[in-house]
């Protein structure tokens, strides 16, 4: 069983250009680890040297920020969407 993780434009270069990736369900921590296992270059972008999620990384389950749920322990039901949202309203400039 799987969940869908949506990747912001700024990080797609580390995820083979994909906008959405299917990952085995579990807790948010397990889903993100599955994502990094599949695309190791994402690791340095999402985690600090202590292997904690970097403080400005925004992760949502559905429409809810995991900071206001159970953090990395938040369960993600099958079929749910996990979104990594840009840390700021702005970011990468790309041509049309």
């Amino acid at each position: 069983m799987a969940v869908t993780v949506t990747i912001p434009t700024a990080l797609r270069q580390y995820a083979a250009g994909q906008a959405a990736i299917s990952i085995a369900s579990g807790t948010i921590g397990e889903v993100l680890q599955g994502l990094v296992d599949a695309h190791p270059q994402l690791g340095r972008q999402l985690y600090n040297e202590q292997q904690q999620l970097r403080s400005f990384v925004n992760v949502y389950v559905g429409d809810e920020d995991i900071r206001y749920l159970q953090g990395l322990a938040t369960p993600v039901p099958d079929g749910e969407t996990v979104s990594i949202i840009p840390a700021i309203a702005g970011g990468v400039v790309r041509d049309a």
């Binding site: 912001p8 434009t9 700024a10 403080s55 700021i88 702005g90 990468v92």
Partner: protein
């Protein structure tokens, strides 16, 4: 002796001539002969450095006949440039339409709407990309109805800094500035100030500031190495060096500047100070100048100012 500020005909006449302030307490380990100074750009009427390029681009558009009475100003901007357009558009009598990602802060949207701007909210996942696409589609459908300044490729953007910010820094430092440090967004500040200072001091050190990766919290700052569309006004050769700043270091500096200098700034300003101190610590003598792009006023709902974070020492 203090002088009373002049009476001005319009808020537009208040753009520029911002204070330069020494940061004397942020790093007590610096030698006496090494000074770090910062331009307080929130003294502009729209509250940020972006008033300068915005005014220059609007005036250039009016001069060229591209911005005429009855037209709307339109651009893609989640931040300070939008507030600058909305402020100056109101003062000059032009309506403003702005496309911005839907996750722009609530303060930001309230400020823009209060100034009368029409907002088009775009997909947060697409970042500025989505907003740029929205603007291009609107302008393509009705080109005569809109003036689209496009700050990323408009030469009036760096020209504003070459004509105002750079000479101000030169005069305010009594010509003593040895290093200029600024983050690259559109690159307008860095390009314009850099050219103005190099024309006066050929050996000046020009140091550009970058985030450490494409996914970062430095609002308004671009990771040039990973963008597909590099701003056409950007000339990489002007920079003598590039300093990479982590979002974590900039967030900590936001709180340190408040505690140690009484300066509540935005995160891109804090990133500039992180880089300016990095430069200053390698000098035995010198005058390092950087830009404090805006104040913290628009960011007070950010977690960086949460009571618990501040009470915990805020990384100091």
């Amino acid at each position: 002796m203090t002088t009373m500020p002049d009476r001005r005909a319009s808020v537009v006449d208040l753009v520029g001539n911002t204070p330069l302030v020494r940061l004397a307490r942020i790093d007590p380990t610096l030698p006496m002969a090494v000074e770090v100074h910062a331009k307080l750009e929130w003294y502009n009427p729209g509250g940020s450095v972006k008033d300068r390029p915005a005014l220059a681009m609007l005036r250039d558009g009016i001069t060229r006949g591209q911005l005429r009475p009855g037209m709307r100003i339109i651009d893609a901007t989640s931040g300070n440039t939008g507030i600058a357009y909305a402020t100056l558009g109101a003062a000059l009598g032009y309506p403003v339409t702005l496309a911005l990602p839907a996750n722009a802060s609530p303060e930001r949207r309230r400020i823009l709407r209060a100034l009368g701007a029409e907002l088009i909210l775009t997909d947060p996942l697409a970042g500025t990309d989505g907003a740029i696409h929205a603007v291009r589609a609107i302008v393509a459908a009705a080109p005569d109805a809109y003036f689209y300044p496009d700050q990323y490729s408009n030469p009036a953007n760096p020209a504003a800094h070459e004509a105002t910010t750079g000479p101000e820094i030169w005069h305010q430092s009594d010509g003593r500035v040895t290093h200029f440090v600024a983050a690259l967004g559109t690159s307008g500040t860095f390009m314009g100030v850099g050219r103005a200072l190099r024309a006066r001091t050929p050996h000046i050190g020009l140091i550009a500031v970058q985030p450490d990766g494409p996914y970062h919290a430095l609002e308004g700052v671009k990771h040039m190495a990973s963008v597909e569309l590099v701003p056409s006004i950007y000339e990489p050769a002007l920079a003598d060096a590039i300093v990479e700043v982590t979002s974590e270091a900039a967030l900590a500096m936001v709180r340190q500047l408040a505690h140690r200098e009484g300066l509540m700034v935005g995160i891109s300003a804090a990133a500039n100070v992180v880089a300016a101190l990095h430069v200053a610590r390698r000098l035995t003598a010198g005058v390092v100048v950087t830009i404090l792009c805006d104040s913290a006023a628009k960011y007070l709902s950010d977690r960086v100012w949460d009571d618990a974070t501040v009470a915990a020492g805020g990384g100091i």
